[in-house]
């Protein structure tokens, strides 16, 4: 009887604990921890953005482990562990390191490297291992048009970059009709241009100029002269930092005055104003996050959204602790990478598992707010909940001017002419 009971009971017990085994097996590999793997850009051409992203992730991992108490899983609080390798901003390193993170380090989730190109390069590797692949630095919509099942985006898509600027002009300057679009001929910038064009047409603006320029160009004079002849009310353009500087500088050289100039990637960086001085006054740029945004627990409550994570100031303090540099402030690269940690934590808690399929499904249903703003994805994994902010240089300082819910100051529209700026006029509302 005793023997018969054991024969029946033992398999029954084993079968009943299988779901628990699968739940705990993943983090058992990390010695009772849930492990985030990251192919980080710590050197090479994306080293600056990579340094910020790592700082943001470490800041939020610190918050989860020490303030939040760890991830609630199976009734226990499980700490997060962060495992990173330097991919040197190289595509070939990304593929091998992601493979290593999954097969050797047995991580529970892979965070993509910075940039659309590197993110896209790593996605098939994660996909082949059926591993959740979270994208904090690849804005190109095309990543999410490939049919990847495990890719999830936190950074806003490229097509949304200039939507806020167009909405702002529509609202504060109803008489402005003519817009010029001039972007770098790169995959990312042309995607931004496509989004801007569609939104401009939707809002009823007339596109009077639409051109691209090659990457690495050193003289935009012919393009800008043609743009001047089109007499736009405002200009949207850019691509990367170097051509953004050139764009602004040569518009000043040719005395091309418009009511609003918004440049992607360049205008939100301090070095932009350092290099251009008074010429940068009044110039705008879209950003995924800026210090000073007003996302808070209270704002989340008002919108009926779940809140998680440190406040903005707590994030800044944790970031400084993580980087060991008290002078370095986090930028949007840090914020979006940090917010990705928080999204993962909520999804794991929601599904009660670290299994990639289950967490991916939970992320699909997730909506929340953190210091970074709102988070929500569509079926393809593309970020649709996060709104960008528009920053304007006013009296040598960056001011968040749009959307109204996040603004730290009113926009200056129209911005002063280049001659007025030379005479010392500031772009003040």
């Amino acid at each position: 009887m005793k023997f018969f009971s054991l024969k029946i009971i033992l398999p029954a017990v084993l079968i009943s604990i299988i779901p628990f085994i699968s739940t705990f097996s993943a983090f058992a590999a990390g010695h009772g921890k849930i492990v985030i793997g990251h192919s980080a850009c710590l050197s090479g051409k994306y080293a600056k953005a990579g340094e910020q992203a790592v700082g943001g992730i470490e800041a939020c991992v610190d918050w989860v482990n020490n303030e939040y108490g760890g991830i609630t899983l199976g009734g226990k609080k499980v700490p997060l562990k962060y495992k990173k390798y330097d991919c040197e901003s190289k595509k070939e390193s990304v593929t091998s390191l992601i493979g290593r993170l999954i097969t050797v380090d047995k991580v529970d989730v892979v965070f993509a490297p910075y940039s659309s190109g590197l993110t896209l390069r790593g996605a098939p590797i994660a996909e082949s291992h059926q591993m959740l692949y979270m994208d904090h630095g690849g804005a190109n919509n095309k990543i999410f048009e490939q049919g990847f099942r495990y890719a999830v985006q936190t950074i806003g898509p490229a097509t949304s970059y200039h939507k806020g600027t167009l909405d702002m002009v529509k609202k504060i300057a109803p008489d402005a009709k003519k817009v010029a679009l001039a972007y770098e001929d790169s995959e990312f910038a042309t995607m931004v241009m496509e989004g801007a064009k569609n939104h401009a047409e939707k809002l009823g603006f007339e596109i009077v100029f639409e051109r691209t320029y090659p990457k690495g160009t050193t003289d935009l004079t012919p393009l800008l002269s043609a743009m001047k002849a089109a007499k736009p009310d405002f200009v949207l353009g850019g691509g990367h930092f170097e051509d953004g500087q050139l764009f602004n500088r040569q518009m000043a050289d040719l005395n091309i005055n418009v009511d609003c100039l918004s440049l992607i990637a360049a205008a939100t960086l301090p070095a932009f104003s350092d290099a251009l001085g008074h010429m940068a006054e009044g110039v705008m740029g879209p950003s995924h996050w800026e210090y000073g945004v007003t996302y808070s627990k209270e704002a989340a409550k008002e919108k009926g959204k779940q809140w998680i994570g440190p406040s903005q100031d707590e994030f800044v303090s944790l970031f400084k602790k993580a980087t060991g540099d008290q002078k370095m402030l986090p930028d949007y690269h840090a914020a979006e990478a940090g917010a990705q940690v928080l999204a993962y934590v909520l999804a794991v808690e929601k599904t009660g598992s670290t299994d990639s399929d289950k967490v991916r499904a939970a992320l699909g249903d997730l909506e929340f707010m953190s210091f970074y703003g709102s988070w929500d994805i569509d079926d393809s994994g593309l970020q649709v909940g996060h709104s960008m902010v528009d920053v304007q240089w006013q009296d040598g300082k960056r001011v968040i001017v749009w959307p109204e819910s996040a603004q730290t100051g009113k926009p200056c529209y129209p911005m002063p002419t280049f001659d007025e700026k030379k005479d010392g006029k500031k772009a003040l509302p």
Binding site: P222, A226, E242, R249, L276
Partner: protein, 295 residues
């Protein structure tokens, strides 16, 4: 409207072309005398840009003062590189000097990156502008173009009126003959290489006065490509030819954009580049030594 744009771009093209020409003279001089193709050319231009940045941003000095300083830096770099590598490779296959100059360029880029970092930098030297109805020209660009013309003239006078210049011309014409006539050919090689690098680094100052943004250790690549087109256009071995080649290239680059803009469905900038390299190919096919003969 078309005429206004075209004439505006013509003026911009001449001013830019003068600086492009100056930026190619060093490349042509080195090829003309030593038959060495300096594929690291752009990295030496970049050094000049950083010298300007240092003078203007760190020392608060006028970028014009950076020209002699950059020239001196270039001379020293040129002499060091010549005696460390080029001299030993002069009789080696051409690939050896190509690789050596390529390596020197990478070495310079990485060294500057270690010292200054990889960020894009710029400065704002605002000395007013001239409004010409059809376009506006900042004085900094005019100064850069005038500086280029002045340096080209000085080089011309030096070649024509000095013994060292005559020795250099004789080596270009026939190095064996020059040696037989008592010219210190090895000395001329060293001097030419140093002078060529000095001119290239100094041209970095003028290019930075023209476009004072986007200063970065890897900024030179685009200038290397353009310099090769200009050098072929003007005559591979002729520094003066390179100067006039630069003028022509600046005009092509600026005016063709306006005309290409009328072709529906194309991006004019892409066609401008296409045209530049098409011209390069045609010249190489019909006159491989370039349009202007070395003097």
């Amino acid at each position: 409207m078309l005429l206004e744009q075209l004439s505006g771009n013509l003026i911009q093209g001449v001013v830019l072309g003068a600086v492009y020409g100056m930026a190619t003279m060093g490349l042509s001089l080195i090829f003309g005398v030593l038959k060495v193709v300096n594929v690291g050319h752009g990295a030496f231009v970049m050094v000049g840009a950083f010298v300007t940045l240092f003078f203007f941003s760190s020392l608060g000095l006028n970028p014009f003062i950076a020209i002699p300083a950059a020239f001196l830096v270039g001379i020293l770099l040129g002499l060091a590189f010549y005696y460390a590598a080029i001299k030993k490779l002069l009789n080696a296959p051409e690939l050896a000097t190509l690789l050596a100059t390529f390596s020197a360029g990478v070495l310079l880029e990485e060294t500057v990156k270690m010292i200054f970092g990889s960020e894009y930098r710029g400065f704002n030297w605002d000395v007013g502008k001239v409004d010409l109805i059809v376009t506006a020209l900042p004085m900094s660009k005019i100064f850069a173009a005038l500086g280029s013309v002045a340096i080209a003239l000085l080089l011309y006078v030096w070649f024509k009126r000095t013994r060292a210049g005559s020795a250099m011309r004789s080596v270009v014409e026939d190095s064996h003959g020059a040696r037989v006539c008592g010219v210190n050919v090895d000395g001329v090689y060293a001097m030419s290489f140093a002078l060529g690098i000095g001119l290239t680094v100094a041209s970095g100052v003028l290019l930075t006065m023209f476009i004072p943004v986007g200063i970065n250790p890897y900024m030179g690549g685009g200038y290397t490509l353009k310099a090769f087109v200009i050098a072929v256009l003007g005559g591979l071995s002729s520094p003066y030819g390179a100067f006039f080649g630069g003028l022509v290239f600046g005009l092509i680059e600026n005016t063709s954009y306006t005309l290409f803009a009328f072709i529906p469905g194309v991006e004019p900038f892409s066609l401008t580049r296409f045209l530049s390299f098409l011209i390069l190919l045609i010249i190489l096919l019909i006159r491989p030594t370039g349009i202007i003969k070395a003097k």
